[in-house]
Symmetry: C2
Subunit: 282 residues, 2 copies
Amino acid sequence: MSTPLTDAINRELDHILPTIGTRPTRLHEAMRHSVFAGGKRLRPALCIVASEACGGKAQNAMNAACALELLHTYTLIHDDLPAMDNDTLRRGKPTCHIAYDEATAILAGDALLTLSFEVLAKHPQSGALVQELARAAGSRGVIGGQTEDIAAEGKPPEANLLEYIHKNKTAALIRAACVMGGICADANIQTLENLATYGENLGLAFQITDDLLDESSTEEKLGKNIGSDRANEKMTWPALHGKEASQTQIETLTNTACAKADMLPNGSALNALARQMASRTS
Amino acid sequence: MSTPLTDAINRELDHILPTIGTRPTRLHEAMRHSVFAGGKRLRPALCIVASEACGGKAQNAMNAACALELLHTYTLIHDDLPAMDNDTLRRGKPTCHIAYDEATAILAGDALLTLSFEVLAKHPQSGALVQELARAAGSRGVIGGQTEDIAAEGKPPEANLLEYIHKNKTAALIRAACVMGGICADANIQTLENLATYGENLGLAFQITDDLLDESSTEEKLGKNIGSDRANEKMTWPALHGKEASQTQIETLTNTACAKADMLPNGSALNALARQMASRTS
């Protein structure tokens, strides 16, 4: 779904990414293939809306927003690799290693990760932004979550492990998106903490919703292989706690997030976004 | 070979890397396996010596130096993967995907790349350092060089292509190491340009020396599979121009590098380092 905000994010991503004709052309084609494969731009949108919630201007958060999407896209490319989840379809298009090849997909992911930090380097708050993004994305964040997620395949479900995976693999980057928006708006520590709590609760709710949709939606709606969690014997919230408890947990997490949004100077859009995420069907 | 400088670098790397016991333990073990596999620490040493050549203190360049080694180690891990060069031996030890598994090796590389930027975030010159490292390491630098290197396998040797590969895959990061040392010493633009030229020439000489050693050294001395360039039908300088011309080219590049070192306030150690690199046997 296209909105003025996602259009602006897409224009900036197009501006940041090397053109198709830039050497090595196949690498840059692969990077663009995955970045422009129809992502919803949740993380960059969150960054910008979080910045505005603190009284910042969208334009000052645009680079950080794009860095988040570049980094998120790299995680998808590497997660889809044969050695990881071995997925062939993502957002309704062939995954990067299917459309190109495995080496190109690994390198395109590496290049998007590297580019995300290059983009942040130009921001007046580069130190704080790089630190926030690198911590969230690193071995004690997103990569840690992905490592435990793969290791957990085929094991009996376990609540603590599932919480670690969701908190790190998914919520860490969504949390960082909100905090980085605040940093771009020069928000104070208390405000950054509220944004962090908002983002973490939103991120956990987002992942449980994803788990539910993986079981109940259609391939056409989601644009990815359906039931792949179950096929890969992934640990999910519905598998561990049941569908009804999952729905209740989504509501609890969303309420906590919204309460934090309401403490921000201009948090109504963040509040609305959390409600909208909780009731999505794709 | 251990020196007071490499010992200090190793201590700092040990301090920076999460401990073995940190969750996920297997991931952090894999990261440490590759970082502490006996690397010569050329890039961090260059960064520190370059900084001192501009009148800076070693301690102020130590973080940037370690970021370079973390990033370099990630490139080795990913280059060794089955989808890339498929190497089983590196610095005399099993490569990361052999010692662990392919998924862990991909993630350990990703985590080291991410950590290298986290380390730079704390430096007072974080913006300039992140920009320099990300540009050198990105799709128009190291990753671009690796992409073209893989694509060139089995093709007839071609001088322009070989130059692109060497300049980007190897020289870009060595150049960045020198420039980052200068940035840590608050060097002016002219000095940074001299360091860049020094680093680029040293980097090209280094790669041609590597190509020669791959043909003539022993597995025991180099600690990696010998003749793997030829087996993978890699484009190399000796294969294209012959051994004698390669030796002459190394001398020419080293002389250019040394002339630039001599223009720096305190460049004698950089000069000596370039001479030493040109005559190495492993």
